[in-house]
Structure formats: C-alpha cells, structure tokens
C-alpha cells in the first residue's frame, strides 16, 4: 500500500506545513513516510509544492509522476497538476480561489471552499488544515485522529493558541467532505 500526495499553492498558504502535518500523522501511525519540498525562490511568494509518500513498506522514490492525490490551493497549481493526478485518484481544490472545474472523468474532484471556511472558523491561515480534513475524509489514508495528535504534538509554541481553531478547521473540512462523498 503506497499513497502519494502532492500539495501545491502560493508561498504562505501553509502548503509545506499541510504536507508535514500529514507526514507526522503517518509516522504517528507507525508508517513509513517521506516529505519533500520545492525549495527554490517560490518559497518567497510563487507557487510552492511538497510531495508526501506514505507506505507500510520502506519507500524507494519519494516522488512520482502521477500522484494518487493532488491538493491545489490556487489556480496555477490547479492548471499545473490537474492533468497529472493518477487515474482513479483525487483532485482536491480550494474552491474559494479556483473557479475552473476539471473535465477529467477518471478522477474524483473535491471542491472545498477552504479559504472561506477558514475565515468563518476565525483565521485565514487555517485553509490548509480545512483541506487536510476534507482530503483525509474523502481519501482515507489515515484516521483523522492521527492528524489531531500530530497537530497537538507539532504545533510550534508560538502558535499553540490556535490549536483549538485548528481542530475546528479540521472538523469543518471533514464534515464538508463527508457530505459530498455521501451525496456523490
């Protein structure tokens, strides 16, 4: 069982942290995991991405041409990665910022108004956690609880005041995706 995730968006949208949180959660579950970032000038404002591979066996390549899950936080990421999602895979999109809808019929599209929900929860910076909640509900790679534990353990000291909001954001994303999966 190997599962690959690509997270992409603007620098500042928490794309790297979303991937790291997933990696921590996978490690919590005793799985093998790799996290690899783009580390160029895009870190300072362009489109950044990171790759997460989760497996129950030692991981060879930490990158793949066709990831099972792609999470696009902005339009350039949607344009770039919509074509590469593996057939049968999941494309999760931040619907607050991405208008186009995929024409591909061989993948599942999950449209989450993540920025809007984050705003409702109380902090725009939580869009990444909203997305994670939705993605892990639609594509059950790990229990949501592992992600909660990862948040608890790895939220840096100066952000711990946001921990409860993070849990709320995670729950809102999960709720939304559960509704979508049911109605699909």
């Amino acid at each position: 069982m190997q599962k690959e995730f690509l997270f992409a968006g603007f620098g500042g949208q928490g794309v790297m942290f979303a991937g790291q949180l997933l990696a921590y959660a996978a490690m919590e579950e005793g799985l093998e995991v790799t996290w690899i970032p783009s580390y160029g000038p895009e870190m300072r404002g362009g489109t950044a991405h990171c790759f997460v591979v989760i497996s129950d066996k030692p991981i060879g390549s930490p990158v793949t041409r066709h990831p099972k899950v792609a999470v696009a936080f902005n339009l350039p990421s949607f344009t770039k990665y919509e074509p590469v999602v593996a057939a049968g895979g999941l494309l999760a999109v931040n619907a607050s910022l991405v208008e186009p809808i995929t024409s591909r019929t061989d993948i599942t599209q999950l449209r989450v108004p993540a920025t809007q929900i984050a705003d409702e929860v109380g902090d725009l910076r939580l869009a990444n956690v909203v997305m994670l909640g939705a993605v892990l509900t639609a594509y059950q790679a790990l229990p949501l609880d592992a992600l909660r534990r990862a948040l608890e353990k790895h939220t840096p000291e100066h952000r711990r005041n946001l921990l409860n909001l993070n849990y709320q954001a995670l729950a809102r994303g999960a709720e939304l995706a559960a509704g979508m999966v049911q109605s699909a």
Binding site: Q20, A23, Y24, M27, E32, V33, T34, W35, I36, P37, Y39, G40, I59, G60, S61, P62, V63, T64, R65
Partner: protein
Amino acid sequence: MTRELLKGNVAIAEAAVRAGLDAYFGYPITPQTELLEYLSQRMTDLGRVFLQAESEVAAINMVYGAAATGARVMTSSSSPGFSLMQEGMSYIAGSELPCVIVDVMRGGPGLGNIHPSQGDYFQVTRSAGHGDFHPIVLAPATVQEAVDFVTLAFDLADQYRHMVLIAADGQVGQMMEPAELPPMRDRNRPEPDYALTGAAGRERRVVHSLHMQADEEEAFNLKLQKKLKQIKKTEQRSIEYFTEDAELLVIGYGTAGRIAYTAVEAARERGIKVGLLRPQTLWPFPVQRISELADRASGCLVVEMNAGQMLEDVRLAIGGQIPVKFYGRMGGVVPMPDEILTAIEENYSRLQILV
C-alpha cells in the same frame, strides 16, 4: 526506538553533534544551508565552536587548523562552494588530518542551480584536490543512512587519519523522513599523537604538507598509498536488493539508487529478473561485490543524476565481462521511477535477444 521526522540537512547536523563534533566552520549555500543554520544554534547552546566563515576557502582552512589541534571538525557545502574548498582539502590530505566534509550536490557546472544532482562524482572520488589521494566517500540515500554515515564518517576519519566526505544530493538534504538518532557521545578522548597543543614539556610535533626534497615527498606518498590500499581492501560497502537471481544488475547510489529501487520493484512485479546494487561507499568503490555479481548477471544498467560518471568505475570493476549500459538525467533533474523502469525493460529485452 524513537523515530523523529527529520530533514536530511538537520539530521546530518544533529548526528554530527552526537558523534562528538567539537567545531564546525562553514558558509551558507542552498541546498545545504539548514545544516549550518541548525548548528549555529545547537553548537552555541552546547558551548562548542560554531563559526560562519567569510568564504568556503576560509572555512576549509579553519577545518585544517582545528583538525591539527586534534579536534573533531566538520564543514559542509554544496557543489560550487565545495569547488572552492579543494586547495584546503589537498593540504588536509597531505597533512593526514581527520575531518568530515559534507557536499550536498546541486546542478552544475558553474553556478548551475539548486536542484538535486550527482554531478560531483568525479570531483569527490577523484579530484577533491591536487596530488595523489582519494578521500573516503560515503553516499547516503535515506535520512537514516545520512545519520548512520555521519557516525561512521567520524570513526573512519579517526581510524585512518583521513578526510571523509559525505556526498549527499539536494534531495537527501531537503527531504524529511523518520529516522532514529544515536545517543550523545562523550567528547572526552585521549589526545591524538599528532595534535598541536603547545610543546611545553614534550617533543615538538609538526603538521604540514610540505616536503621540499623529492625523495621525502615520495616517501610520504608511498605511506599515503599504503593507507589508501588498506582502505580499499577493508572499507568497500554496498547494499543489495533482489540480486540472487538477477540477470540484469542495476547499479545506482544516493537518490538515483533509491528511485531505481522503486523501478526494480515494479520490474520484478512484471517478472523481470532484475536486481539492484546501491554503492554506499563511492571511494573505495565496491569493486569486489560488483565483480562477483557480474559473474552471474548477463547485463548491467547504471543509473545516475549526471552524464555517466560512476559508469566508468562500474566498467572498470566489470572489465568487459558483460555489457554495461547507462541511464541518466542531468542539471538538477531527478529521474522518475517510470523512466528507469522503461530503461530496465529496454535493456532486459535486449539481453533476452543476446541469450
């Protein structure tokens, strides 16, 4: 066992601290900078020496000086910065001083880019500086291996009074993976017999790489070569997957090696008799094991993130016994597993025709 999710650069830094690093000298360069950044805090907290030099040239000469006092020292850089260190590395080799040098390789030549590469293979194994010497070169493919190789590097450096390079690439440096760190070592150890600590009350010691008389320089070279010969004999390291019945032997190190592993696994699922040997020491090159496997295989495919540099060592090891083919990407491009799988399939079907 406590596993931590660690970035390669940070893991190397902390492993060095735990291996008993006394002093670090370096200069920032992507994709290696987190190593230096981490040590700037950690070494200072521990009351050990951290110094950001004014250039790589200064850093390597500080390593030279500190190593001469018997301290356990390290520096790190990435390709263009590593090039700047070559003069100092030759002096260190000529003075037979132990130290650890990390090269987190990036795309080149020239300023190149900051993406992962293995373009420095010739440089680290053959031309780390002028004169007749090879450093010991370790090539990690995972964060855990990077951690383990740091401890090994310091031990080999002390054992042979020789420099040990860790040749990683941008991917190993930037990737996060769970890894287990070793316990903190006691830094107290007997003073090495070459250490310059002030000669009061004892005979004067000299550390230098200058022998004005040709016969003296030759005598030193003979001694150095004897040591290198011993290292060649005892320190070849490699790891193997699916090689028992492999007709096609894939050889790749570091990041190219672990990506090749995914391709080899996929090829096995398709019934292709292929195996992987991943060299862990680039110098000494695992000649002995490759030569043994070549006796049983009918063909070999070398995979690298360069134009074919280790390829030459593989051909020397195999000596024309079986055909040796190559697949590589350059300039900071990391090959995808499917490309390597295609190369395996093409070469395997060619072998079937030969058989």
